[in-house]
């Protein structure tokens, strides 16, 4: 898109130069008309609204990524990237967004302003060139912070030919990042239920791969060494993500 924008500007300069020549060669001097300002390329705004559907699982600050084909925040059966591991264990999306920005498929990315409590939502605007919308996908990732490494979000949902006013809504399920054993102990839970360490580079889950999350068991359901309570259990879907084109 940058190149198209540049091309438009070059044409404008060429037109102005020609006008100048015409003005010089005329017998009388017409008023010089300044070249019409080059309109900025039309942009599209997608508002991404993330709603927390759980009972007692605050969502870590969300990572929103607009990208092309060729990027996925995760794939079932594959090991999580280091950035996703950090997001999934500590709720810190910094490294995840750095990875996304470096992926070569990135259009733009954004972070939420803070955790999203149960029942609450946050809206983050994503602005992309309108001409690129048909080849744009949106991914959103967040952690259920009262867990070891549960994540949710949307994985490369195409914006397609969304018109202003159009919405796409997805109910998202919980995945297990596969990077940390689900011990449910306070020292390993970064959320308010544990205030634990969060990230640990060791990958000590049974298999280092992303799968569906089996849910929180909890001390109240017979897992004696768990510091999570029945209130922290969840079922799918856990998050609602709505994409709305507003401009």
């Amino acid at each position: 898109m940058n190149s198209t924008y540049l091309r438009a500007r070059v044409c404008g300069i060429a037109a102005a130069t020609m006008l100048g020549i015409a003005a010089c060669s005329g017998s009388s001097t017409p008023p010089v008309t300044p070249p019409a300002p080059i309109p900025p390329p039309p942009m599209a705004t997608i508002e991404v609204t993330i709603s927390n559907l759980t009972n007692a699982q605050p969502l870590s600050p969300v990572a929103v990524v607009a990208h092309t084909d060729g990027y996925n925040p995760f794939s079932v059966g594959q090991a999580a990237t280091p950035g996703l591991e950090m997001l999934a264990e500590a709720g810190d999306n910094t490294a995840f967004l750095v990875e996304a920005d470096a992926s070569g498929s990135i259009r733009t990315s954004a972070s939420g302003t803070g955790p999203i409590p149960p029942g609450a939502s946050e809206t983050i605007s994503v602005v992309v060139f309108e001409s690129l919308l048909s080849n744009t996908q949106i991914s959103v990732m967040t952690m259920l912070v009262n867990t070891n490494d549960a994540i949710s979000g949307i994985n490369a949902v195409a914006t397609g030919d969304m018109q202003v006013g159009d919405s796409i809504s997805r109910r998202a399920i919980a995945y297990d990042a596969g990077t940390e054993a689900n011990t449910e102990t306070a020292v390993t839970i970064p959320g308010p239920a544990g205030n634990g360490e969060g990230f640990n580079a060791a990958r000590d889950d049974r298999v280092d791969q992303v799968t569906m999350h089996g849910g929180v068991v909890s001390r109240d359901d017979g897992f004696a060494s768990s510091d999570l309570r029945e209130a922290h259990r969840f079922d799918n879907p856990v998050v609602q993500v709505t994409l709305t084109r507003t401009l």
Binding site: V76, G77, D176, V207, T211, V217, G222, F223, S225, N236
Partner: protein, 236 residues
């Protein structure tokens, strides 16, 4: 003569086109679970009015055999009898957590417009994943179906390992634990199903006692949340 031949040819083409639905599809199945294995899948295209199972109705003997022991022989007989297009066991055995398998299916010249996929969840008593007679889309493209776990309703979910005898229809117990993470000595997690018809599975219970407790399953390993599988259909 030439003209008559052409007319006959046209009618023939028309009849063929109206009677048969042609679909050349690929069916990809992903095990989404964290700690559950699948027995061999049955992937079947069948007519609009046939079903492998119906929620709220008792499981057929063939579904019971599949759901309790992973046996596909009964379903193969049933599907052959109704002229279904099917592939049994595309994974060539068990499908571990997070792994996938796929198979092609070509329904040219048949009326097999619906797709069903079933397989048992291991280790369970009679849980199965079921994609239930979805219409095979006519438009070429990629279609994703999220699949829940059903309870066949034919066996108590006692969650006691009884390998391999528990795989026979009507014999209590779970027939196997391919992941090797189940325990022993459970006293029985549940009695007979309150709902003896096919229904959405209420999930395993499990416990954290590997040598006792009520269940041989591990609540930290063998529970799941739906969906338990994803079926990706590519229509060519």
């Amino acid at each position: 003569m030439n003209r008559i031949f052409k007319v006959a040819f046209c009618i023939g083409t028309f009849l063929f086109a109206s009677a048969a639905s042609a679909a050349d599809i690929n069916v990809r199945i992903v095990n989404l679970t964290n700690g559950i294995w699948y027995t061999p899948f049955m992937v079947a295209a069948h007519t609009d009015d046939s079903r492998l199972f119906t929620t709220g109705m008792p499981a057929s003997a063939s579904i019971q055999a599949m759901a309790e022991g992973g046996t596909l022989a009964g379903l193969e007989t049933d599907l052959t009898a109704i002229g279904a297009t099917f592939v049994a066991n595309p994974a060539g055995g068990l499908l571990p957590p997070a792994m996938e398998t796929d198979t092609d299916l070509n329904t040219d010249g048949t009326d097999n417009v619906r797709l069903s996929v079933v397989a048992m969840l291991l280790p369970t008593n009679d849980a199965f994943m079921g994609l239930n007679a979805v219409t095979i889309p006519a438009e070429p493209g990629v279609y994703v179906f999220n699949v829940p776990a059903y309870d066949a309703g034919t066996e108590a979910n006692d969650e006691i390992l009884n390998a391999p005898a528990g795989g026979a229809p009507g014999v209590a117990g779970m027939p196997g634990d391919p992941g090797g993470l189940a325990g022993s000595g459970g006293s029985g997690a549940a009695g007979a199903d309150a709902n003896a018809n096919v229904h959405i599975h209420r999930n395993t219970l499990g416990d954290t006692d590997g040598t006792g407790g009520t269940s041989d399953l591990d609540s930290r390993v063998h529970r799941w949340l739906n969906p338990v599988a994803r079926v990706i259909v590519t229509v060519r």
